[in-house]
Symmetry: C2
C-alpha cells in the first residue's frame, strides 16, 4: 500500500478534522497520538505489548539508532520494522533535533538558564554541508548532512521520514533566524531530492520552521508547500508559553495544504492536545505519557493520580474502574502504589501500559467528538 | 485443597525423586525451581507473564513485605495472592535471613572481608525474645520474634511458610554455633506453636541449621523431624565451596523424612541444581536467573551467552532457535543486544522471560530424566 491521506470529516465547529493516513504498514487514524520509542522500543514495554495497546504510529529517533546499533545492522536485519518486530507504521526524524539540542540545549534549558555543559564539545562544526558531531557512544566523529540523514532513514525504512533541519536556539537574533530558516529550507530541499532518488514507498514530511516570527513561519509554509512533500510537520520553538504556541499554530495551520497530513513535533501533553486538535493538527508525538508513567503519574479521566500518594496504599481496585487496559484488568492501584514504593521495574511497565492505553482511548474519543461536530 | 506431598518416583540411579506438592493454590511438580519475587513481583515482569512462563512456586520475602506495604495492607487486600494477583502457590520466609544479613553481612561479604558498614545500627538488639531492628524505610523500630514473624506470614497467607531462625555468621566459634542452633530450635518450636494455633491451610517447613558442622546438622535434622512440620528447608552456610556444600547435603539428606518435601534455601544456580537434584532436593529458590538476565547473561542449552558481546550484534535469530519463550518467539538476539547496549528497561524484561523459561524447561527435563532413572 502506498502512502495516502484520506480526509474523512471536517468539524463544523472548528478546524478539527478526522482522517486516515494509509501507509505500507497500515492505517493511522487521525487525529492521533504517536508514542516515542527512541531506541526502537517504548521504555519498559516490548513491541508486542505496544501492538496490543493499539498505538498505530511509533516515533523512532534516527540520531540514537544511527549511533546504536547503526544503520548497517538494521539494514542487514531487513529494516527497522523487522529489527524491532513491529508490524504497524513507524516515523523517524532526521537526527538533527538531538544534535542541535546537544549544541544549544533545549528551549526549556535555555529559558531556565541551564547550560549544556556536560555536552560541550560533542558538536564539532555546523556548516552548509551539515553537522559534525562526536558520538556519545564511542567518541567517533559523525557527519550528519541532509543526504546522510536520508540515507540513514532509507536504511531504517520507516513509513514516514523527515528532512534534516537546523534547530535554531530559542534566543536568536532576527537576522540569524532568517539565515537559519534559509539554510533549513536548503537542507530540506536537499533531503527531499535525496529521498526522491529512491522513495522506496516512504513518505516525507517537511518541517515548518521560522521560530516565533509569524511572518517567517508563513514564508516557511508557503515555500515548503511548493515542494513535493507528502505531509508537513511543525518544528522548532513556537513560543515560550502554551498560549503563544496556540496563537502561532492558529495563524500557521490555515496556510498548510489541507489535502496532506500534518504533525506537531514533540508536543503531546493533554492540555496541548485539547487546544491543538481543534486547530486541525493530525498527529502529535510525545514521550509525556511514558515519562509520566515512570515518574508515578497516572493519567485518568478524572485527572492525574500520583501513584505514590499515601491515599493509594489501600485502593484495592484498578486505577480506573472502567479501564480495559492490561494493568487495570489485572492489578490494583494499591499494588501499583506498592511496586512504586518498592522501586520495582514492573511498576514502570504497568504504569506505562495504562498511560498509553489512556492516550489511545483519548484520541479515539477526540475522533468521535469531531465526527459529531462536538469539537 | 490441603497441603500434601505425593512421591511419584525414586530414581534407581541416585537419591533423586519426582513428586508433587499439593497446595491450596495448586500443584508444584518436584524437583522444581522457585523464582524469587521479593516484593511480590519478579523483577521487571508482571505476575501474568510469570503465570504464562509456568513458574509453579514464587518466593516472597517477609522482611520486605513487612516494611512495605506492611501486613495490614496485604490483609485488607485479602492476602498476598490477591494483592499481587497470583493464582499459583507462594512461599514466604520468616524475615530472619534479611535481618541477620544486615547484622553480619552475607557469607560472601564475610569471606571477602567486606564489612556491613553501611548497615551498621540497623540491627538494634538480638535476644531470646527475637530481633529488634530499624526499618530501612522509615527508621522506625521493628521487633521480629517467632510469633510476630508467623503472625505476619498469617496475614500474607502464603501456601508455605517458614519459622524464624537465627542466621549465625560464617565465622563463628563452635560453642557459639551450638548456642545459636539451640536458640534456632527454640525459635522454630515457638514459630510452629504459633502457626498451629491457626493453620489456615498453610504448611510450615522447618529450617535445618548447624552451619558447617555435620554433627550439629544431624542433630538439627533429628530434632526438627520430631516436630509437626510439613516439610524441611535447609538454611545457613553449608560450606565455603560447592564441594563442601554437596558433601554436607549428601550426609544430611538421608536423615530427613522421605515422606515430606524439602527445600534448599537460596541456592539455584545451574551447577548446584545439577549436583543437588541427584541428592533428592525437591525445590530450590534463587534470584540467579533473573539477576543474570538483568546483567545481560542469557541461559541456553549450549551455555551462557553474554548478550552485549559484539558477535551478537548481527545475530538475527532468537537466542535459541528451538526456544518457545515469549522473547525467542518475538525477538532476535541482535535486537536484545541492541536493547542492552541502549540500556532500555525492555531488555531486562525480555532477558528475564527467557531465563525463567529456561529454568522451567530445565526442571521439566530433570523430572523426565529421573522418571527414566537416567539421573
Amino acid at each position: 500500500m502506498t502512502f495516502r491521506f484520506e480526509l474523512i470529516h471536517k468539524s463544523k465547529k472548528s478546524s478539527a478534522r478526522v482522517g486516515r493516513i494509509h501507509t505500507p504498514h497500515g492505517i493511522i487514524d487521525t487525529p492521533n497520538f504517536v508514542a516515542v520509542g527512541t531506541n526502537g522500543t517504548l521504555k519498559a514495554l516490548d513491541n508486542r505489548m505496544v501492538d496490543s495497546i493499539g498505538l498505530q504510529l511509533m516515533f523512532c529517533n534516527t540520531y540514537h539508532l544511527l549511533l546504536q546499533p547503526g544503520p548497517a545492522v538494521i539494514q542487514r536485519a531487513g529494516g527497522l520494522h523487522r529489527f524491532i518486530n513491529r508490524k504497524m507504521p513507524i516515523i523517524t526524524d532526521s537526527g538533527g533535533f538531538q544534535v542541535f539540542s546537544l549544541a544549544y540545549g533545549s528551549v526549556a534549558d535555555e529559558l531556565k538558564s541551564r547550560g549544556a555543559k556536560k555536552r560541550d564539545g560533542l558538536v564539532l562544526k555546523i556548516s552548509e554541508e551539515g553537522v559534525h558531531f562526536r558520538s556519545y557512544r564511542d567518541g567517533g566523529k559523525v557527519l550528519l548532512t541532509p543526504e546522510t540523514s536520508i540515507q540513514t532513514q532509507k536504511s531504517l525504512g520507516a513509513d514516514i521520514i523527515i528532512p534534516l533541519d537546523e534547530l535554531p536556539p530559542y534566543h536568536i537574533g532576527s537576522k540569524e533566524l532568517i539565515r537559519s530558516l534559509e539554510r533549513t529550507h536548503r537542507w530540506e530541499k536537499r533531503s527531499l531530492d535525496e529521498h526522491l532518488k529512491n522513495p522506496q514507498g516512504q513518505a516525507m514530511y517537511a518541517v515548518i520552521h521560522g521560530g516565533v516570527d509569524p511572518n517567517l513561519r508563513k514564508q516557511s509554509c508557503d515555500y515548503l508547500s511548493t515542494l513535493a512533500f507528502d505531509g508537513f510537520s511543525i518544528g522548532g520553538s513556537l513560543g515560550k508559553t502554551k498560549p503563544e504556541m496556540v496563537e502561532m499554530l492558529t495563524t500557521l495551520l490555515p496556510r498548510l495544504p489541507t489535502d496532506k497530513p500534518n504533525h506537531l513535533l514533540g508536543i503531546g501533553d493533554l492540555e496541548s492536545l485539547k487546544q491543538c486538535v481543534p486547530l486541525g493538527i493530525d498527529t502529535f508525538d510525545s514521550s509525556y505519557p511514558t515519562r509520566a508513567a515512570r515518574h508515578g503519574m497516572l493519567l485518568t479521566q478524572e485527572g492525574n493520580i500520583k501513584v505514590e500518594k499515601g491515599e493509594n496504599a489501600n485502593h484495592f481496585a484498578p486505577i480506573e474502574s472502567n479501564c480495559t487496559c492490561w494493568t487495570c484488568q489485572n492489578f490494583t492501584l494499591a499494588y501499583l502504589h506498592h511496586l512504586f514504593k518498592a522501586k520495582e521495574l514492573t511498576a514502570y511497565s504497568l504504569a506505562s501500559v495504562h498511560n498509553l492505553h489512556f492516550m489511545v482511548e483519548l484520541m479515539r474519543k477526540y475522533r468521535e467528538a469531531i465526527l459529531e461536530d462536538l469539537i
